[in-house]
């Protein structure tokens, strides 16, 4: 009977709906990890629906320390996980992107590939091909360019102790540098992507600006930008592009710059901005914490901040998570559903992470949640789970 009903529904123009706003989906347990705040990066999803998770406790500056990278299969199962890197600089600093069955992240010392088919991690690039010295990744843009020739990404890197930075195109398949352009001595303040361009907010002797670049083509443009005076060394800030021409950069709490392609200027807002979200329509939203860690949101239109207020959807999701969320535990090849009283794993509202959450689906984000920590030898440990949630911006 069910096949017949489904057939009739389709013939009658039946459709499939995703998650409703503030609806909490089925969680999937990732594992148990140390730290009251176990990760700074929200989960990423590839085209096939595989989920990529990188853990790593943040230090005093908010920079994630080395953790574990895992892949959850679209139809179930998790990889065993592998280290994101070694030493104090081996923490995952950002996602680059994903194709159908592969995802990439970057640390301060390497570009790392996660293979969903095998669960393996592979260091794509960690040495300067010219000097053969260790690579310093100042920033990698959240952009993958998939062509018939391969998959490419863009990053600003330096080699060893040489302070000179280079803008490079990386062949993510082969792990080689396809092209390189010298930038001189620069600080990278923020990174983003939009309209097929990678964007890097840099500071050098001439001041601050946003450099636009495309794989293979190199630098394609520049946008004048007055950026907040922030120290480098922690998490690199984020840049986002709206379909209405708005551009926003968040370099840290209370350190934002807003504008258009004609230029960006520093700005301020009543709440502590954490990151910039981009909805399915292409509108930019500043999100952050207000009084009592209440999630806040403000639209950006025409290069200006408008309509700041409480983010009701984020609040509703937090309430639903704390009330109880069903989480599937897939250990041992089984599927056991349990109910967790959970909270956002980033220390604030589940939807307000230090990094922008890549879209999980239309109208949905995947958030990382944790159950109440347990003490093990003086170190708090929490179980982490990925939960898809319906998102609506005011």
């Amino acid at each position: 009977v069910k096949p017949a009903l489904a057939l009739l529904a389709t013939l009658a123009g039946g459709c499939v709906e995703g998650l409703e706003p503030a609806e909490v989906g089925l969680g999937r347990r990732v594992g148990m990890f140390p730290g009251a705040i176990a990760a700074t990066l929200p989960p990423m999803t590839d085209r096939a629906g595989n989920i990529y998770v990188a853990t790593g406790m943040p230090d005093d500056t908010g920079t994630p320390q080395p953790g574990v990278a895992l892949v959850g299969g679209a139809r179930g199962g998790w990889s065993e996980g592998c280290a994101t890197g070694e030493g104090a600089r081996g923490g995952a600093l950002g996602w680059i992107g994903a194709t159908a069955e592969r995802g990439w992240l970057w640390t301060a010392t390497a570009i790392v590939e996660l293979d969903a088919a095998t669960g393996a991690c592979r260091v794509v690039l960690d040495r300067d091909p010219v000097s053969d010295s260790d690579l310093v990744v100042l920033a990698a843009a959240p952009l993958v360019d998939e062509t018939v020739s391969g998959v490419f990404a863009m990053a600003i890197v330096a080699a060893g102790t040489d302070p000179a930075a280079h803008l490079i195109t990386i062949d993510l398949d082969l792990g080689v540098v396809r092209s390189s352009a010298a930038l001189g001595t620069v600080d990278v303040l923020a990174v983003g992507a939009g309209g097929g361009d990678a964007a890097f907010a840099i500071r050098d002797g001439a001041g601050t600006r946003i450099v636009l670049a495309r794989p293979h083509a190199g630098i394609t443009g520049s946008i004048a930008a007055t950026m907040p005076d922030v120290a480098t060394g922690g998490l690199v800030g984020e840049i986002a592009f709206g379909t209405d021409g708005s551009i926003a950069a968040v370099l840290g709490r209370d350190a934002i710059a807003i504008g258009t392609a004609g230029g960006l200027a520093t700005d301020s807002i009543a709440f502590a901005a954490r990151t910039i979200e981009r909805d399915d329509g292409g509108t930019l939203w500043l999100v952050g914490d207000g009084a009592g860690d209440m999630p806040q949101v403000a639209a950006i239109a025409g290069g200006r901040i408008v309509n700041a207020g409480e983010w009701a959807t984020a609040r509703a999701i937090d309430d639903a998570l704390s009330t109880g969320v069903i989480v599937v535990d897939e250990r041992g090849g089984m599927r056991v559903a349990t109910r967790w009283t959970a909270h956002g794993a980033h220390g604030t509202s589940a939807l307000v992470a230090p990094r922008r959450a890549p879209a999980y689906a239309v109208g949905a984000r995947a958030v990382l949640v944790a159950d109440p920590p347990v003490d093990r030898g003086g170190i708090p440990y929490s179980q982490l789970a990925v939960v898809p949630v319906g998102v609506e911006f005011p």
Partner: protein, 461 residues
């Protein structure tokens, strides 16, 4: 008479007799209970009209008589690719029934015209009849991809070249078999091993005229694209967007009921794995069910882009497949469940050399774990118009399609536009030799745009 002439004569006579004998039944007047009841012709006569070189024309007349009436049918066949027949009926048969009989016989004549293309005649051994056919299809293509690196910016070669071989066997008493294999070349720009694809391996049983039961391997006939066999295409390839919606060849059982006005098919298939990756050691299982119904109010219209009916034919059809599958974990425990629903609705029009087909396609895959539906919608229109131009036939070809994939997860749009033509130089009305050339602008939802020109020579045997 040359040896080829003898073969041509045998083919012409066989086709004429077949056309006439089959046609005599519906022309019979006594069809009050079973409209397509067969009557063994009471008399059949054959006359050779023309025999020149390696071509021949033959006519045959068959008469079937039953209790209340008599039907007579006259058929003509030539080895240059035509077979026609006319009928008369006397007795209690109504005008409508005679008209219906003529329509049905036109369809039979169309099919027989196509059969007469083949150089290898039917092989007979007792009650067993076999027919071997196929084609050689060397193809050359040049593609340009602006976004590729230098190595891949231009791709050229003979990808798309293939050999296809088919074998139809009739063992009598309504039992038939069909086999169709394609051997294809590798990629354009890299020397790779070819592929061997068993598209069809079917055993069919037809207990009565309107019912056929088939078991074996075949394409699941969800859409008009997938219901049209490879050997029955005018375009060198399937339309690009079909890859999003088509199911691979599968093994199963299908029941078909068919009249001149309506064809309905239902099937149950093994259900091959979806393209969603499973964790190592996991396995997904679930039967696939298919259904397709098509109305042909003006008479039968085969899934054959080469068909050239003498009167207007129209096909309005819809099909769907449904598969509920369970992904079992490596330990054997039941894991996530998924539902794969695909549907299509098509309109096809054929009249003489004109063939137009439009179709809307949809795919929606959901599961109880990810809550991330995979929804795709697409559509295409294709047209070909074959007409005589001097001593040859020519056929302009045009096809355009668009698709929106992952509409609820990671939306992207793709499509294609193809323009070109085909020439049939061997003889007027013959499909034995054709050359098709197409320019295509393709937009892949992931890899972006490319342009290509592809030419295919097809030599049928």
């Amino acid at each position: 008479v040359t040896p080829a002439g003898r073969i041509a004569l045998a083919v012409a006579v066989a086709v004429a007799v077949a056309v006439t004998t089959i046609a005599a039944a519906p022309a019979s007047a006594d069809r009050t209970k079973k409209r397509r009841a067969k009557h063994t012709p009471t008399s059949t006569s054959v006359r050779i009209v023309d025999l020149v070189g390696d071509s021949a024309t033959a006519t045959a007349t068959a008469t079937a008589t039953s209790g209340t009436g008599t039907g007579t049918r006259t058929g003509t066949a030539t080895t240059t690719g035509t077979a026609t027949s006319t009928s008369t009926a006397t007795g209690t048969a109504t005008i409508d029934r005679v008209a219906s009989a003529i329509t049905e016989t036109d369809a039979a004549a169309d099919a027989d015209a196509a059969r007469s293309e083949y150089l290898v005649p039917e092989l007979r051994a007792g009650s067993l009849q076999a027919r071997l056919y196929g084609s050689l299809r060397p193809t050359i293509g040049v593609a340009h991809r602006e976004t590729a690196v230098e190595r891949d910016r231009w791709a050229y070669g003979f990808a798309g070249s293939r050999i296809d071989v088919g074998l139809d066997v009739d063992v009598g008493r309504g039992v038939t078999g069909s086999l169709y294999v394609q051997v294809a070349a590798g990629r354009d720009d890299v020397a790779t091993a070819g592929t061997v694809d068993l598209e069809r391996a079917l055993v069919s049983y037809q207990p009565i005229d309107v019912l056929e039961i088939s078991v074996g391997r075949d394409y699941v006939p969800m859409s008009a694209q997938s219901a049209t066999p490879s050997e029955a295409r005018v375009f060198p390839t399937r339309i690009a967007i079909d890859e999003t919606f088509v199911l691979p060849a599968d093994v199963g059982l299908q029941v078909t009921t068919s009249t001149s006005l309506l064809t309905a098919m239902v099937g149950a298939w093994n259900g091959v794995a979806t393209d969603v990756m499973l964790e190592p050691g996991a396995e997904e299982r679930g039967l696939l069910y298919s259904a397709r119904i098509e109305a042909t109010p003006l008479g039968k219209l085969a899934f054959d882009e080469r068909t050239r009916p003498s009167s207007l034919r129209l096909g309005i059809g819809a099909g769907a497949t449904y598969r509920a599958a369970t992904a079992f974990t490596p330990t054997g425990a039941a894991g996530s469940r998924s539902r794969d629903l695909r549907a299509a609705a098509a309109v096809r029009v054929a009249w003489r050399g004109l063939f137009v087909q439009g179709e809307i396609l949809r795919r929606q895959i959901t599961d109880d774990l990810s809550m991330r539906p995979d929804v795709a919608t697409g559509g295409y229109v294709q047209a070909s118009w074959r007409f005589a131009a001097g001593a040859v036939d020519v056929a302009p070809l045009a096809r355009a399609g668009i698709e929106r994939v992952r509409a609820l997860s990671a939306p992207a749009t793709g499509g294609s536009l193809e323009l070109g033509g085909a020439v049939f130089p061997f003889a007027r009305g013959s499909d034995r030799l054709s050359i098709a050339a197409l320019y295509a602008h393709l937009v892949d939802p992931i890899l972006g745009a490319s342009d290509e020109v592809r030419a295919q020579l097809r030599l049928g045997f």
